[in-house]
């Protein structure tokens, strides 16, 4: 299947199951949202899929376009087409955004080959205009001294440039004011395509007003406890999580 499939996945951190027998399927072309209270394993799930060494898969399967990601290194998983926008994007002092993204693109090419530089800069500028980022940001160090909103935009910029087949966006709406949320949402919407699946992690219905999901899932206790259409997000907004998770 094209898209992301999670089958009976269990992830343990320090002996504790943070993801516990989870099942989820997000076909290419669809956008799904995972909602749920804090500490229910949403970010742990994202790190486990991305191959973070501290979030080892205990059992179960993670398939991207039919290929297993379990046991692969984080960079292999990335190069297979999985992109994670981080809840807290990390600063990389001294490494400019342009150089960083270029290095990441070069890492996808066969040994000895490099991206065409003029074409790269043209695309980079285009995406930055789209995200309403100051072109001067290309020479700024990745996320260093950025506001919360700038960091999120920088992650989305990377997503647009790396063109993954599946993107998981972890609380992309946190720290964004309403204008920034609109800009980021527009870019995410533009990035929707029938080739690409997306999974949004969010606490708030607000994001889903801009990026309308095909399905909404509620995660609790390390697994999906309820799934539905976009209307589920509205319901959660008014009722809270207790009626499901309890």
């Amino acid at each position: 299947m094209q898209g992301l499939e999670i089958k009976n996945l269990t992830v343990k951190v320090a002996g504790k199951k943070v993801v516990d027998g989870m099942n989820l399927c997000v076909p290419a072309g669809e956008v799904h949202a995972i909602m749920g209270p804090n500490g229910t394993g949403k970010s742990s799930l994202s790190k486990a899929i991305a191959g973070h060494p501290n979030y080892p898969v205990e059992s179960g399967e993670i398939l991207l376009n039919g290929e297993s990601l379990v046991g692969l290194s984080p960079d292999e998983i990335s190069r297979k087409g999985f992109f994670l926008a981080f809840q807290y994007p990390v600063e990389i002092p001294g490494v400019s955004i342009a150089n960083f993204i270029r290095a990441c693109l070069n890492a996808r090419l066969p040994e000895g080959q490099e991206v065409n530089a003029p074409e790269f800069y043209r695309q980079l500028r285009e995406k930055m205009v789209e995200l309403k980022m100051d072109p001067k940001f290309t020479s700024r160090s990745v996320n260093e001294g950025f506001s919360g909103g700038e960091k999120k935009r920088c992650d989305i910029l990377q997503m647009l440039m790396l063109n993954p087949s599946f993107a998981m966006l972890d609380e992309i709406d946190s720290g964004l004011d309403i204008d920034a949320l609109r800009i980021v949402s527009e870019s995410v919407n533009k990035a929707r395509s029938h080739h690409r699946g997306m999974l949004l992690i969010t606490h708030y219905h607000r994001l889903l007003e801009y990026v309308r999901p095909d399905a909404v899932h509620v995660m609790s206790g390390g697994k999906i406890v309820k799934s539905g259409g976009p209307e589920l997000a509205v319901e959660l907004e008014s009722k809270g999580y207790d009626w499901i998770a309890g």
């Binding site: 991305a50 973070h52 060494p53 290194s73 984080p74 960079d75 998983i77 990335s78 190069r79 992109f83 994670l84 981080f86 994007p89 990390v90 600063e91 990389i92 002092p93 001294g94 490494v95 150089n99 960083f100 993204i101 290095a103 990441c104 693109l105 890492a107 996808r108 530089a117 003029p118 800069y121 160090s141 990377q158 790396l162």
Partner: protein
């Protein structure tokens, strides 16, 4: 698109994989193994030196033999260095050449493999290429000769230009300064003598390339640079050697004199193989309104001890040390800076960044001296260390003495560990662990790499990438 332009520039080949080659030894002059008065006399005789230099050498030898290794503060690894097993002078006896065609084939091939003639054509005003004890090639662009710029090796300098050479030689750094300045003063050979006349600004850099070819050899180049009033100069040196089983010694003395309003920038990229002891004394004197900048990068050698100094002798003089050190497996980079403020309104700036990889150790030793009889002096020191692995080590030993009126010293130091979350973030974008680490380390030193001439900064980034290979795990 300056970054793409940079990539087209030829490599300077300072990396140890491309520089780890050697040619058969075939020397007409060999001072033998070990050090005594006869060795010193032999060197002086082969070089056909005036008596005053022989006297200078013999006096220095006596000081060297009397001084203990400074192991009461420095690494005890100095005690593993056996002075009786070193060869102090090796030369082919051929005269130094002014065209590469005339240079002996194996020596020429060495420097061609290191890319030296290519760089000379590309961006240098002059080159001196030293092979073991003696300079094999030396040339400078014609316009500089017309301007009266002198760029020769130390032997030619002391013989041909004694009026300029002698008043300054051994004055900035006396033989008795330390054990290694005494050693160098006794057996020195090669290195550059540069004089830039009043008001002459040398726009392109002059470069020296120091190459050790022979095993168990000691290279003792001696450099004296005099920038006359209002003149400007940038000098760059690169150092490599093949890897041998036995230790090799490199012990240079570099004296800089910046007269009133002159500017000297001295750039070093040191990438000796890791069994070379690199024990170097570097000091400059800055007169009124003069500026001296040491831009220093130490990547190679097993033990480096080097603390470039500026003595600020005239009002408003400025001294600067920009320093990058990479200490990889088994290496100890013991580097630092000394700023001696002896006049009013003098300023100094030290920025040091070190990276310790594997069990490598980087130490910063600093001295800032501002006595009570001067006023309005400023020093700013920033010293950042990055530890890559769990067993990496760094130390800082700042010595600050500041008194007097309206003088200030600022010292900031930081130690950070390569962040696992940062590496994960970068790997999530598709970079391998090694690529992520080397990009991260390059980022850490990036602001200092920009201080190097572009040709060197490109090379440095590549050298750092090479160092990071094999540092994973």
């Amino acid at each position: 698109m300056s970054e793409d332009k940079q990539e087209q520039i030829a490599n300077l080949n300072l990396d140890r994989s491309t520089s780890d080659f050697r040619y058969a030894e075939d020397y007409a002059y060999d001072a033998g193994v070990g050090l005594n008065e006869n060795v010193v006399r032999y060197i002086s005789k082969v070089k056909d030196e005036p008596q005053w230099i022989l006297d200078f050498r013999l006096k220095a030898l006596k000081i060297f033999l009397e001084k203990e290794n400074p192991t009461h503060w420095a690494s005890e690894r100095l005690d593993e260095l056996d002075y009786s097993k070193i060869r102090y002078y090796l030369a082919k006896g051929a005269k130094k050449k002014k065209t590469w065609e005339e240079v002996p084939e194996d020596v020429k091939r060495t420097f061609e493999r290191l890319g030296v003639p290519e760089q000379e054509r590309a961006f240098l005003a002059g080159v001196d290429a030293q092979f073991d004890s003696e300079s094999a090639y030396s040339n400078m662009k014609e316009n500089l000769q017309k301007d009266g710029v002198i760029f020769v090796d130390s032997t030619e300098g002391l013989k041909k230009y004694p009026d300029i050479f002698r008043p300054w030689f051994g004055k900035v750094i006396a033989p008795s300064d330390n054990k290694f300045s005494a050693l160098n003063s006794a057996v020195f050979s090669g290195g550059s003598f540069i004089y830039v006349p009043k008001g002459v600004k040398v726009m392109q850099p002059l470069q020296a390339y120091f190459r050790i070819n022979a095993e168990s050899f000691g290279q003792f180049e001696r450099t004296l640079i005099i920038a006359d009033e209002g003149s400007e100069l940038m000098y760059m040196e690169g150092c490599t050697a093949p890897k041998y089983d036995t230790g090799t010694l490199h012990s240079a003395v570099v004296e800089l004199v910046a007269l009133k309003g002159a500017k000297i920038q001295y750039v070093t990229v040191q990438n000796w193989s890791d069994n070379v002891y690199n024990l170097v004394t570097k000091r400059g004197e800055a007169a009124e309104d003069a500026q001296i900048r040491w831009i220093d990068c130490n990547i190679g050698s097993g033990l480096t001890m080097k603390y470039p100094a500026v003595v600020l002798k005239g009002k408003r003089a400025r001294g600067e040390v920009i320093s990058i050190a990479l200490a990889n497996r088994g290496q100890h980079q013991d580097t630092g800076a000394k700023m001696i403020h002896l006049a009013d309104d003098t300023t100094s700036n030290v920025v040091s960044k070190s990276v310790s990889i594997s069990d490598g150790r980087a130490s910063y030793r600093g001295l800032v001296y501002i006595p009570g009889n001067v006023k309005n002096c400023r020093n700013n020191t920033v010293c950042d260390a990055l530890l890559v692995n769990e067993n990496s080590r760094t130390d800082t030993y700042p010595a600050i003495e500041c008194s007097g009126e309206n003088n200030s010293v600022q010292h900031e130091a930081s130690v950070s560990k390569l962040s696992a979350e940062q590496i994960f973030y970068m790997r999530q974008r598709g970079l391998s662990e090694t690529e992520a680490m080397s990009l991260s380390v390059n980022g850490f030193v990036n602001d200092l790499i920009k201080e190097f001439p572009m040709e060197y900064s490109v090379e440095l980034k590549r050298l750092i990438e090479l160092e990071m290979e094999g540092s994973v795990g």
